[in-house]
């Protein structure tokens, strides 16, 4: 593995990790922009813009873009979060240069009005799709409740109304401000030729104009509000808990991740043994999500409406016991083993490496080897985790529940049985 880096005069960072023994290569643009960088008027624009980049350039139509990717057999896509928009592709080494060239072209999209109008429908379908996924919906609504006005609570998708009201002009303006070369990173991992990548980046990206970009960073402890939302078609109670965590820049993030595993990994965690193993809940997980300048612990629980009180009492006992007694050496050892083997497995694929390479550059402007992360995880002590528990007290959380109308539990059961026998 060999690390490479070049910065163009307009501020675009190009980073690479070359592994000549890999069978594939991966490339991605990591753009430091997401829903937290939006105002209320343009909520949803980052994600909508991610879709619009696939609609082509002055020279390429949407179909031509898709055909060009598919001709290389690339596995390509993009995603948008609260603070990043990432475009990526995994591909056979012989096509890496071509695919990189294509991404570079797409980073200067046409943003045509007619494409914008058609894609608006797709975005609204995506919003509708997630409404039918309560495990996602509850997290989204809880994030808004937790951040309570802080920009990290902005919805990534936006609402149907905000998307309806959004204009192509507003999107073009947002694009011009945020997709500046000094606000993005081009990253490559796996089997590829660094000099070729550098040369195509220098030739094609140098004319991009540097902009004054920024983001207001403010840590936020969370509202700790509690709310229940009823939805008549739901069968189960979906509960999301959120509490304050530390940032992606904080060296203690490895300890925070291990705490998430100890409390809420999908097997073998405290949530698992107390809630899932005992069949009080059919899902109960907690994880740590580090963000730019802030962070949070997220829990998701799914259970029957009858079990809600017992489940929440149990959760409360788990957090109280954590605060009082901390974690054990044995728990930490198991959590480390799980995290370490997942890390090794993930990083065997160039696509897995790309994600870490890109995000380390976005958040830290640093290259970290897999070994750096392994060492950091191994170095975490019980005390490190216990200090975090004391400081952040995950038992003080924001809570959002999504479930059926409370007096209609029986009716739901009846309707379900009738549906089944109809089949």
């Amino acid at each position: 593995m060999e690390f490479k880096k070049k910065t163009l005069s307009n501020g675009l960072d190009v980073v690479g990790e070359v592994n000549k023994s890999a069978k594939s290569a991966a490339v991605g643009f990591f753009v430091k922009t997401g829903s937290r960088d939006e105002s209320e008027q343009i909520n949803g624009v980052s994600h909508f813009l991610e879709h619009m980049l696939f609609k082509g350039t002055e020279k390429l139509s949407a179909l031509e873009v898709n055909e060009a990717f598919d001709r290389t057999g690339a596995q390509f896509n993009a995603f948008t979060s609260e603070e990043n928009t990432v475009f990526y592709a995994a591909v056979l080494p012989e096509y890496l240069l071509e695919v990189t060239g294509l991404w570079i072209e797409l980073m200067r999209p046409a943003l045509r009005d007619d494409d914008f109008s058609i894609e608006k429908n797709v975005i609204k379908e995506e919003i509708a799709m997630y409404k039918d996924m309560p495990s996602f919906d509850v997290m989204d609504q809880c994030r808004t409740l937790h951040f309570d006005g802080h920009p990290c609570g902005n919805s990534v998708l936006g609402s149907e109304a905000s998307i309806d009201n959004l204009t192509a002009e507003q999107m073009r303006d947002y694009f011009a401000r945020r997709y500046a070369p000094n606000n993005m990173v081009l990253a490559c991992a796996g089997n590829f030729d660094w000099d070729q990548i550098c040369s195509i980046a220098a030739n094609s990206c140098s004319r991009w104009q540097k902009q004054a970009v920024g983001r207001k960073l403010e840590h936020y402890g969370g509202s700790k509000k509690k709310k229940r939302v009823e939805k008549s078609n739901l069968a189960r109670e979906h509960i999301c808990l959120m509490s304050a965590g530390l940032s992606a820049q904080d060296p203690r993030r490895f300890a925070a991740s291990l705490l998430g595993i100890i409390v809420g990994d999908n097997v073998g965690s405290r949530f698992f043994w107390e809630l899932v193993d005992k069949a009080l809940a059919d899902a109960a997980t907690m994880q740590f999500g580090a963000m730019d300048g802030t962070g949070a612990f997220y829990s998701y629980i799914s259970c029957s409406t009858d079990n809600v009180t017992k489940v929440l009492d149990t959760v409360s006992d788990i957090f109280q016991s954590l605060s009082k007694n901390g974690i054990t050496e044995d728990e930490l050892r198991k959590a480390k083993n799980k995290v370490l083997s997942a890390l090794v497995i993930k990083n065997e694929l160039p696509m897995g490496r790309l994600v870490d390479l890109g995000f380390n550059w976005i958040y830290l402007e640093k290259y970290r080897t897999v070994q750096d992360d392994i060492s950091a995880i191994k170095a975490v002590t019980v005390d490190d985790v216990n200090v975090l528990i004391e400081q952040f007290n995950p038992g003080e959380f924001t809570q959002l529940s999504l479930g059926p109308a409370q007096d209609r539990g029986l009716k739901t059961e009846n309707r379900r049985q009738r549906t089944d026998s109809d089949l």
Partner: protein
């Protein structure tokens, strides 16, 4: 790229398959136990999920907690699934822990404690899982689709039926485990970094038994129905659609795979282009090849708001119908490159390879090399794919919808 396949057969018939991978430090393994949803006795729908949970609740000299702790202590990324034909349990892990993980899995398969109180918890979780499906219409529609499409009992739901799960007893479930955990029909596969001799020796020591008789093959019944609608007051109509195609043993298998790829391989494929890009009808739209040993189909999913649902279904059906009318050379080339590329990309993952070699062995009785698959994909052409489509016209579609609106 020359991969090596290791194969060893125990005296009782259990097959050990392995594919060493030079570039990795991990190993992934899986045991395919012949006890999937379709081979379980009538009236026990969902027992597979209960079994896959119950056997982990204590085994050998360890209780449930000790066993879970031991597995976690090895850092296992565990996997377990209940399919039509098999329950598969396995894990991916750092290669150095493989031997200990296999010892634990031998206990789980051969010496599960199967205690009564743990059974009740496993069954309750299976019931909860089934009830949760009502809140996940996208997954539910595809399970219903398989149930309706495949000749009974091949598409039987691995999640279960509520009445049958409620009636299931520990005694009955123990009997099912006893009858179906047949080592002579079990396939073990490992890929990644491992020592062949050590693995074979260990598997032999742990799993060598008297040969067991194979179970009677399941009798196939009829398909359930053409169209099923389940009412749900959600935001979208979730559409599942499936039609017959050839099995992996058929000489036209690769023509079928390329045809599906023209329809829905990449973002320039027809469904994505016609349904999403040109009309903006859906966010999620796609079709894929799906097979069991005895039947195969092309499976399609689309999710769309009620006003657009009928048009979505109509356009999808038109695209299926139009496929045999003509395909361009460019489309075939893109489909072939896509299939070959995804084959090679997945060959870097030990989990993917362990799953692929086990599945090949079960479906075909042998494991195909990557070069063989690449050559067969390469050998297809516009003419061979069109010839296949014309002699295998899509005629019967099974459709399932879940949502606020019933379709025609």
């Amino acid at each position: 790229m020359k991969e090596r396949l290791d194969k060893y057969t125990l005296k009782n018939g259990m097959v050990v398959l392995g594919e060493p991978m030079e570039a990795v430090a991990s190993a992934a393994f899986g045991f395919m136990l012949p006890s999937g949803a379709a081979v379980l006795p009538e009236g026990c729908c969902g027992a597979g999920g209960v079994i896959a949970d119950w056997i982990f609740r204590g085994a050998g000299d360890k209780n449930s907690r000790q066993l879970g702790d031991a597995l976690d202590g090895l850092g296992l990324a565990r996997s377990r699934s209940v399919g039509s034909s098999h329950i598969t349990i396995g894990a991916a892990l750092e290669a150095g822990n493989l031997a200990q993980a296999l010892d634990l899995h031998a206990d789980i398969i051969l010496k599960p404690s199967l205690e009564e109180d743990q059974f009740e918890l496993a069954r309750q979780l299976a019931i909860d899982g089934l009830l949760s499906l009502d809140d996940d219409p996208r997954q539910k529609v595809m399970l219903k689709l398989r149930e309706q499409f495949y000749p009974s009992p091949l598409g039987r739901s691995p999640v279960g039926e509520i009445a049958e799960l409620k009636a299931l007893t520990a005694e009955k479930t123990r009997q099912i485990i006893n009858d179906n955990f047949n080592l002579s029909q079990t396939i073990f596969a490992v890929a990644g970094k491992y020592d062949l001799e050590a693995v074979c020796h260990q598997i032999e020591k742990l799993f060598e038994t008297e040969r067991q008789e194979a179970a009677e093959p399941v009798m196939l019944g009829s398909k359930a129905g053409k169209y099923t609608h389940i009412d749900n007051d959600g935001a979208q109509v979730h559409i599942g659609l499936m039609t017959d195609t050839v099995k992996p043993t058929d000489e036209d298998y690769y023509n079928a795979r390329v045809a599906v790829s023209v329809l829905s391989g990449g973002m320039s494929a027809r469904l994505f282009t016609k349904v999403r890009e040109e009309r903006g009808l859906c966010y999620a739209i796609g079709a894929r090849y799906h097979c069991l040993k005895d039947a195969a189909g092309i499976m399609c999913y689309a999710g769309t708001t009620p006003d657009k649902a009928q048009e979505t279904l109509d356009v999808i059906m038109q695209e299926f119908d139009k496929l045999g009318e003509g395909i361009s050379e460019e489309e075939i080339q893109r489909a072939k490159v896509g299939l070959k590329s995804s084959l090679i990309l997945s060959s870097e993952s030990s989990s993917s390879r362990a799953g692929a070699i086990a599945s090949d062995y079960y479906m075909l009785g042998r494991v195909r090399g990557l070069d063989e698959i690449k050559d067969k994909i390469e050998a297809t052409s516009v003419n061979s794919v069109l010839g296949f489509l014309r002699s295998n016209k899509f005629k019967d579609f099974t459709v399932v919808t879940i949502g606020p609106k019933c379709l025609k």
